[in-house]
Amino acid sequence: MATAVTTRQQQQHAAELNVIARKQRSLWKDAWSRLLRNKAAIAGMVVIVFVAVVAILAEINIGGFHFRLAPFDPVTDQNTPKQLMEPIWTKAFGSKFTDPAFVLGSDELGRDILSRLMFGARISLVVGFVPVAIVFVIGATVGMLAGYLGGWVDNLLMRFTDIIYAFPDLLFVIIIVATLRDTGLGQILGGLILIFVGIAVVSWVGLARLMRGQVLSLKHREFVEAARCVGATPIRIMLRHLFPNVLAPIIVSIAFAIPGAMLTEATLSFLGVGIRPPTPTWGAMILEGFIVFSTTPWPVLLPAFCISIVLLAFTFLGDGLRDALDPRMKL
């Protein structure tokens, strides 16, 4: 981030002082090269790819092919005499409760923490991507229509956002998830689908509003007028002319929505209204481990560490994308 920031400001200064700026590249190519220069963003990408690979390889079961990277099954392998083992490196500091089979130790039911973390990564990533994809489709469509067409679509959107904004995000998700837990929807996949719905219902509004604002600011620009003059249909104008131009801020907002969704899931699971046990998720592992926290902190510290690293990775990538795509957004 640092280098990108410096040069950008220098260029800006140069431009302000009427000094000729050099080397003009296309917007996207330029953004890409700025992103690649950003060490934190690259580190974030590496972490994300690593976690994704581990999550996928945790267990593959396609047709006859079966492969499991995780040493144990995260749910069924309960090794009762080997409860609350500590990670193997603690042996060097005098811990008597280690077992070479449990690299990161075991939880209060004797389940392997490493395996549960690997499967927990799956939930986190799925929760990061799926609801955000739904949010993108709904939010972008509604925002585009509201901004471009105005009228009742716009009015409805704005009234709806007013109400949603009166709830703190997390509060609304908690109410939805907690109250619908015992319905059929809440039972599917241990409550995973309900979490998707909860996150999507709350967050599409923000994206729609962003999209609407962007479209409003662009729709009277000359290039849109020009397209209209040559007889482009509204759909073509929206897709071919407006959409590419509002994409940059949308991408940035999505890059931040992904860790936001992951955080929501972790928080819900931590509060006990998320995905049902025994499905391993990082938030639930923290909640379960908290009972034995004063005895051994590892069942809590390890998932807490994983959440921190993955969320930071996404944030660094998001920061990098924002710096790269729109130098003027300086937040």
């Binding site: 703190p168 908690i174 109410i175 109250t179 923290i286 902190p297 809590v300």
Partner: protein, 307 residues
């Protein structure tokens, strides 16, 4: 100005109504009775029926809603299902002081460290100080409060026995919860302050101020800072919302008897009157915070005419 405030205050009423409607509908969408919660010790059927009649939940849902709103307008928040019919107003009254103390301490702490940090960071852009404060701000906005709390409890509570981490009572009990609660909004405020300060010191009028021969200090404080604080003020609204959601988690985690913890409990136990009242209270606080922000905004920026 006064008319604007009154209009905004009146606008709170319909929004509150919709918040109540949505929460009420959602709460009653859940299947089953709120009293058959414990499958291991099921209550006898006539007891459930009696309880349902007592609390009025046997009536059709629209009727229940009308009754609820009617009671609400008379200032009756209803009785808790779970805590043996104890009035909700009592429970909230008992917890709100604690939650408010925690929230205000956290807000003050957040403002006290974020604004100076953001300013210094912007003025020393691209120096180690800037990188450090950016890192703190990024970590603070990214890492969830309960994770930070866990690390802190591990270090200060379990490790060194420096601070208590369960319950509420002495000032030592407030140290960790306040810090954890302040971290998220504070980190966010730091980023906003830094960004808007960077924006401000690049403006033409700052160059004008320098060209008058003002000291750097007067240029920063008298010219740049006043402009930079305008966007910062607008964040106080969202920051309040952040403090509220933060309080659920922090109070649950540290076992603090504030309304945030009661709220999480009541959601788990489907204690509708508690859920309804607390949700409405939160929505009200957030709307008041947003209104305050708009008034402050108008006062700070002469270009905005509040009318």
């Amino acid at each position: 100005m006064l008319r604007y405030v009154i209009r905004r205050l009146l606008l709170i009423i319909p929004t509150m109504f919709f918040v109540a409607l949505i929460t009420f509908s959602l709460a009653h969408l859940a299947p089953g009775s709120p009293f058959d919660k414990n499958p291991n010790r099921p209550l006898p059927e006539e007891t459930i029926a009696h309880l349902e009649r007592y609390f009025g939940v046997d009536k059709p849902i629209p009727e229940q809603f009308v009754i609820y709103i009617g009671n609400l307008l008379r200032g009756d928040l209803g009785a808790s299902f779970v805590q043996r019919g104890r009035p909700v107003a009592d429970i909230i009254g008992q917890g709100i002081g604690i939650t408010a103390q925690l929230g205000i301490q956290a807000l003050l702490l957040a403002l006290a460290f974020s604004i100076p940090l953001g300013i210094v960071s912007a003025l020393k852009q691209n120096t180690p100080i800037d990188y450090l404060s950016l890192l703190i701000a990024t970590v603070g906005t990214t890492i969830p409060g309960f994770v930070t709390a866990i690390f802190l409890i591990y270090i200060f509570g379990v490790g060194f026995h420096l601070l208590p981490f369960v319950g509420w009572g002495s000032w030592q009990h407030t140290v960790m919860p306040t810090f954890v609660l302040a971290l998220g909004p504070g980190a966010f405020l730091t980023r906003i302050t830094r960004a808007s300060m960077l924006e401000a010191i690049r403006q033409d009028y700052v160059r004008t101020a320098r060209s008058k021969g003002l000291r750097e200090q007067s240029v920063i404080v008298g010219h740049a800072l006043k402009n930079a604080l305008i966007p910062v003020a607008t964040i106080i609204g969202p920051a309040t919302a952040g403090l509220i959601t933060g309080s659920f988690i922090i109070e649950s985690l540290f076992n603090i008897p504030g309304i945030g913890r009661f709220y999480v409990l009541s959601i788990n136990q489907r204690d509708y009157p508690m859920i309804m009242s607390t949700t409405l209270l939160y929505a009200f606080i957030i709307m008041i915070a947003n209104l305050t922000v708009d008034i402050v905004y108008g006062a700070l920026d002469p270009r905005i005419k509040v009318s």
